[in-house]
Subunit: 658 residues, 2 copies
């Protein structure tokens, strides 16, 4: 007996509506609407091997409309992945199940990225497609030759980031990126006509995309559209006209199917409508069999790849790159550290970052740098990195344009793809533009390095719109993000080393615009790895511990000198990273903070004081800026905001007296 396309697709529909019903929570409409399209993709086109979910040359599939998570769980299960098991699907949206409300890359192999925050899935796919072409340029068709497929909804297309992602993909002519748009005309609030009148196809074409459309419930039409996309050299958008909640007799085509269980009656009706007799979570054996067989479609291709890989002269290097291991023996980097000790430079930490990157990019062929149109200000480009362009995917520097969010999401996609380590720059204040993607870097546990310069009022004349105030605090509050704010060139190199070593999460470097004097002269240990360390011990009887980061460390040293001159011993603690410090043992922390001693703890940082009481206590002193900045030359601003030795020392003396 031949199993039909519709039966295969209905298995997806049934699992989706049943799991949502069982959870009494979830989004049945999208999986039911896109079941036909996804079935065509997973049974005819997608290159993957359920037995080896991490086969490097697999196609990448991103469910940008992440709320339709049951779609991907159904597809993975049916096509033969070991997980999710049927039991895990039954526990959809329950504690401990890998079938979370939205797909989480860290819970389930086969889920290429965490999606749900709309628009970001497609933008990450752009990054994956960039990484693929880049690695192809270096390792050739034999090792790297795959596509990136996306399923996106109306929400993904309406979000601002879509414009950035589409623009970047079109500009870079990423022809191996194919987006299947679930064109169902429905959003949560109702029909799309409530909020948009856009000609989506025309917009994509305006950015150099190929656009076609099809009836999303006619498998032949879907195939025809995909063939057309495959043949076109441009990135493709396929508008798949679908009915949301397809099969639900009274609710299909309405927003009622979007985000709530259908209910038992409607599900019974859908079973009838679809001709699906099987019980909940039961798949008729012949359909199960046909799905499994479809899941083995690419096995020969995988085998052939394995053979080529085994014989490849580049096997070891490729393996290293894909495993995300740094190269052994970092001569260039070691030499750079030595040079810093030999001749400590007085430079802005953004410049120090460029100096470190010069060595890093030499030693690590896997870095891909870039900036959101602030290359010369972020100091992100070094000699080793030629531009990555549509004509030369082998380049290692991306002119992202004025697309901070799109850049950040693309970097997430590159890191998820593997084989490259992306870093990208903008001003620290524009971390706000990138923030939803930074959160996904942290949640997805990917190695992305954010190079955020002009990290305080030290930016000067551009004024309050460009001066970060609350940004350090707001970033430190985010789980799994490491924020580094180095004090000089040596600390900058150390923080770069830590960022690159960190495999399971993003790092953010907050770097100064203005020149900073060297404060450390010994590179024998990476002290930034401690998060905070005693840079200068009190000479006189210790009465004060000064805690500072970045550009304020040298200021703290001045203050300490002044205090010592007046008879008060003062430690200076450089605190480049709260996260690294939090990971130290209690004894170390107590020693650095002089816990138990009767000292005044003072934080000095040119930003919001928010959070610093964690280290100073409520009886300490928090010196910072708890209002918006102003437009003036940097030195005037430091004076105006009381961030000078002359302003701080008296405050400390007065606190010591009280």
């Amino acid at each position: 007996m031949t199993v039909t396309h519709t039966q295969l697709a209905n298995a997806v529909r049934a699992l989706s509506m049943d799991a949502v019903q069982e959870a009494n929570s979830g989004h049945p409409g999208m999986p039911m609407g896109m079941a036909d399209v996804a079935t065509v993709l997973f049974t005819k086109y997608l290159k993957y091997d359920p037995q080896d979910p991490e086969w490097f040359d697999r196609d990448r599939f991103v469910l940008s409309a992440g709320h339709g998570s049951m779609l991907v769980y159904s597809l993975l299960h049916l096509s033969g992945y070991a997980r999710p098991t049927m039991d895990e699907i039954r526990h959809f949206r329950q504690l401990g199940s890998p079938c979370a409300g939205h797909p989480e890359n860290f819970l389930l192999r086969g889920v290429e990225s965490t999606t749900g925050p709309l628009g970001q899935g497609l933008a990450m796919a752009v990054g994956m497609a960039i990484a693929e072409r880049h690695l192809n340029a270096h390792f050739g068709d034999d090792l790297v030759d795959h596509r990136t497929w996306v399923i996106a909804g109306d929400g993904c297309l309406m979000e601002g980031i879509n414009h950035e992602a589409v623009g970047l993909a079109g500009h870079l002519k990423l022809g191996r990126l194919i987006t299947l748009w679930d064109d169902n005309g429905i959003t949560i609030d109702g029909g799309t006509e409530l909020s948009t009148s856009e000609n989506v196809a025309a917009r994509y074409e305006a950015s150099g995309w190929h656009v076609t459309k099809c009836d999303g419930h006619d498998p032949d039409a879907v195939r025809f559209a995909i063939e057309e996309a495959l043949a076109d050299p441009r990135p493709s958008l396929i508008a798949c006209k679908t009915v949301i909640g397809y099969g639900a007799p009274t609710k299909q085509g309405t927003s009622a199917t979007h985000g709530a269980p259908l209910g038992d009656d409607e599900i019974a009706g859908a079973r009838k409508e679809l001709g699906w007799d099987a019980k909940p979570f039961a798949i008729p054996p012949e359909i199960e069999e046909a799905w499994k067989k479809a899941g083995q479609r690419s096995r020969n291709e995988h085998k052939a790849w394995d053979d080529r890989f085994a014989k490849s002269a580049e096997k070891d290097e490729f393996e290293r790159r894909m495993a995300g291991e740094l190269p052994a023996g970092d001569t260039a980097i070691k030499a750079y550290f030595d040079s810093l000790v030999a001749d400590p430079p007085k430079v802005a930490t953004r410049k120090a970052s460029e100096m470190a990157l010069t060595a890093i990019n030499e030693a690590l062929p896997e870095t891909i740098g870039g900036s959101a149109d602030l290359t010369g200000s972020n100091n992100t480009k070094t000699g080793a990195t030629a531009p990555l362009t549509a004509d030369d995917y082998g380049g290692r520097y991306i002119y992202y344009g004025i697309r901070e969010f799109g850049m950040s999401a693309a970097m997430n996609g590159m890191a998820l793809h593997g084989g490259v380590i992306p870093y990208g720059g903008t001003f620290l204040v524009f971390a706000d533009y990138c923030r939803p993607a930074i959160r996904l870097s942290a949640l997805q546990q990917v190695r992305v390095v954010y190079v955020m310069t002009h990290d305080s009022i030290g930016l000067g004349e551009d004024g309050p719109t460009h001066q970060p105030i609350e940004h350090l605090a707001s970033l430190r509050a985010m789980p799994n993000l490491h924020v580094y704010r180095p004090a000089d060139a040596l600390e900058t190199a150390e923080c770069w080393a830590l960022s690159l070593k960190r495999k399971d999460g993003p790092s953010l470097l907050a770097l100064s615009r203005q020149n900073l004097p060297p404060v450390r002269f010994d590179a024998s240990e990476n002290l930034c790895a401690r998060g905070a360390y005693r840079l200068k011990a009190a000479e006189k009887d210790r009465r004060v511990v000064l805690l500072a980061s970045g550009s304020e460390v040298s200021l703290a040293l001045e203050v300490a000198q002044s205090l010592e001159a007046q008879g008060h011993g003062a430690d200076v603690v450089s605190m480049p990273s709260w996260e690294e410090f939090a990971a130290q043992d209690d004894a170390y922390k107590a020693d650095v903070l002089a816990t138990g001693s009767d000292v005044l703890r003072v934080s000095i940082e040119a930003g919001a004081t928010f959070g610093w009481e964690r280290y100073t206590g409520t009886d300490g002193l928090n010196i910072g800026i708890d209002r918006f900045g102003a437009s003036a030359p940097a030195d005037k601003l430091f004076e105006y905001f009381g961030l000078t030795e002359a302003a701080i020392t008296p405050r400390i003396l007065s606190a010591l007296k009280s």
Copy 2:
């Protein structure tokens, strides 16, 4: 002697290049490139009266490319505004000058909005244009009949928010919005071809805009294009082909003119090139005179408006609305408070917000609500608010679509325009998407109310992508934003009252998805105005002070009851707003926190503990969630993360023992 257009425009160019040179900092390229276009606008089209910068029916002008701030300072000065004076222009970018690096609405009348963070100016202009049509629908052409003009650069167009703004403006058919695009082909990194291949005109047309183009240095061509835009019923984009830094002999047309002074030699060359002989900061009298005269173009129109206004039957109400004063006598709101006391409901605070809004929208005709496609979840729509659509601008509810950032920026524009009080909703986790605009609400000191629901793991099954963790902390860290997290329906009504009363900044309501029991039963004083207050005093000898917000207040009450039962007196402090509490006097704060008493202070909040040491001290206990959430039903998650009475009481008992 007739003064030519070119002489008028050259006055702008000269002031711009000279001020940047004097400051040794700034962006001369854009003002020099757009001087012709801006001169045509300010001398022929813009409706404004320098003698009365706040004339309500003036056209609004937004310099979305805010880095070109010398353009607007020059225009204001030349056309006859009292400020900036020439001395203030000489002090461009210096401390205390209203001529800040980027235009700041709070420093200078005539600057309609704070711009610089790219893309947001145009998006705010969309909000202004919405407010204008809305008020026109209510007050008629006699009182409200003006246009919104924007100058935007390539950066504004490349940012993601541009897509949202363009989509919204096209959908709402805002034909009185005209954007002059400085189409100079240059970004900071170099030519636009480095990063974009977009057909901008086609993209705008795809969203229902009228698009035309002109030679931006030919005043007749500019006029012709503007006339075309005026005649077209759609919002218009005019691509003004310009040369960045026009007049600078060796640097024009290059990114070298973008963000740095030209240098003395180049400026001397430009003077020659432009035929401008006057000294720096000197304007030849006949040119000064011609500019002043142009600035008086709309005086008769203003006078006629004054006459109509004086005779208008709606004068008082219009005046109240424009002054941003709330109506006297808020019977509906008073009655609502009474009903809460009479019959305290157990509802989610998002539902309580809807209940409060029902009364508010009845009493305040100036509110305009909306949601970024989560109307039913944010509970933002009430019966009094019909949709605001292209067919009915008089409506008071906007279906913003999946455009969180665009919504937020549009709300800023509406609030800046005046006459309306905008509020809009999304999930709290997507405050990240809105964040750059929230910051501009705070910086610009505008009354915008963010209705952010699903404010913790209480959101449940949608999982970590949708569960805010660090958001409360990151928002509390932002200057001039009031964050409110009410505990029950009464507190929600109080927080709404505070948000509406607050004229000089934005408020953000963090509201629960899940039902919460009432905790307050007395409405005689708005206790949320205190920021924190003792909800329950210790019965036994006080050993613990529990500090909680929102959904954790009722939990704190349970914990207190359990502690009391075990002999330990415990205060419960409800803390809906850190900012309001910070504004209380020291005695009040000390009383609420029991400063000086030997008590254990415990914070309980279902989010990051970051920052809570400010109130608990480092020897207190901070109970919260310092990792990403998980997907499961809400009650399971509260258990899993230890946010139950059963989990918390033992931790407190153990801390009391140690």
